[in-house]
Amino acid sequence: MRSEPTNGDALSALLKTLPMPNVQAARGRVASRIDSTLSRRNHSYAWWKRAVAVPLPAVAAVVLVVGSLAVVTMSGFLPSTDASAHVEPDAADALDIKVHVDASHTADLLDWLNEQDVGNVTIQLPDSATFDVLGEPVLVRPEELLIEPIDPGEEGSE
């Protein structure tokens, strides 16, 4: 396989005259040094530098969840434009707005709602809220419904 120049055998023989290491003795020495190095390294290896095998489906699931959370979170911080602030009346039915109002400002909220030209408004009260019954229940048509603020002075008079 090798190309030999003239007098190549003499050269090869000469190259073999160089002293060679004792492989068997060196093999044992180097092996024990490697074992020593590796065991020392394994003990001193910081846990946060160790590689951990993670199944690909688990990684994909985590990425999906984190991505979804990021989208939801970021959508709350996006600046509103004029186009998005304006809500068409037809789309108002599908609008779901949560507004936390202090009980002392309930009247203001009702006033404001009365001034809006938005069809039906559903107010979800806290589950823990309890109310006393005032007066007699009556049936009214939706178009006749007018919510009037309660005069604080009249509360508890009946």
């Binding site: 120049p5 003239t6 050269l11 190259l15 005259t17 002293p19 060679m20 060196a26 040094r33 190095t37």
Partner: protein, 171 residues
């Protein structure tokens, strides 16, 4: 390390160590340094043992790393030592008083010097070929060059070495 990896590492060690030691030893001409470089190369191999599909690939990578470490060491030594210091401290101990032994050591020193004076691209092919007993295909894999290029370099290395040794009366 998983038991499979440990078995694989041991297989590579048993297969590659003799070749690596002979090649590195011929480049650095020192038993202690050669063993140190072998140790470093195998530790590097251990750190990435899962990247090699088979023993051959791991062996070629190991020889490449070991050869480079040895040449780096040799280069540093050449920079740090004068020519006289290199020749006097190199390699094996000289002279036990017998003329034949002295002559043999002188010839060996002459050959070693001639090898060291070869350009690196010829020297590495010669060392891998003559002292690693590697085929041209294996040398091509280690050096990441073509087999044809290995043949050309091997031929040039031997021709140049022979000329130098003839000029110095070693042949």
């Amino acid at each position: 390390m998983a038991s499979y990896d440990r078995t694989f590492f041991d297989n590579v060690y048993n297969h590659a160590f003799p070749v690596l030691l002979r090649v590195v030893h011929r480049i650095v001409a020192s038993r202690e340094v050669a063993e140190e470089i072998c140790h470093d190369a195998f530790v590097k191999l251990y750190e990435r043992i899962d990247r090699f599909p088979d023993v051959d690939q791991a062996t070629w990578w190991l020889l490449r790393v070991g050869k480079n470490l040895a040449f780096n060491y040799s280069k540093r030594q050449q920079r740090e030592r004068s020519a006289y210091e290199r020749s006097s401290s190199r390699g094996e101990t000289v002279s036990d008083g017998a003329d034949e032994t002295v002559m043999r050591n002188e010839v060996a020193a002459s050959v070693q010097t001639a090898i060291d004076e070869l350009p690196k691209n010829l020297r590495e092919v010669l060392v891998l070929s003559e002292y690693g007993d590697l085929s041209y295909r294996e040398i091509a894999e280690i050096l990441t060059i073509s087999v044809g290029n290995v043949k050309v370099r091997a031929h040039r290395a031997r021709a140049r070495l022979q000329k130098v040794l003839e000029e110095r009366g070693a042949i």
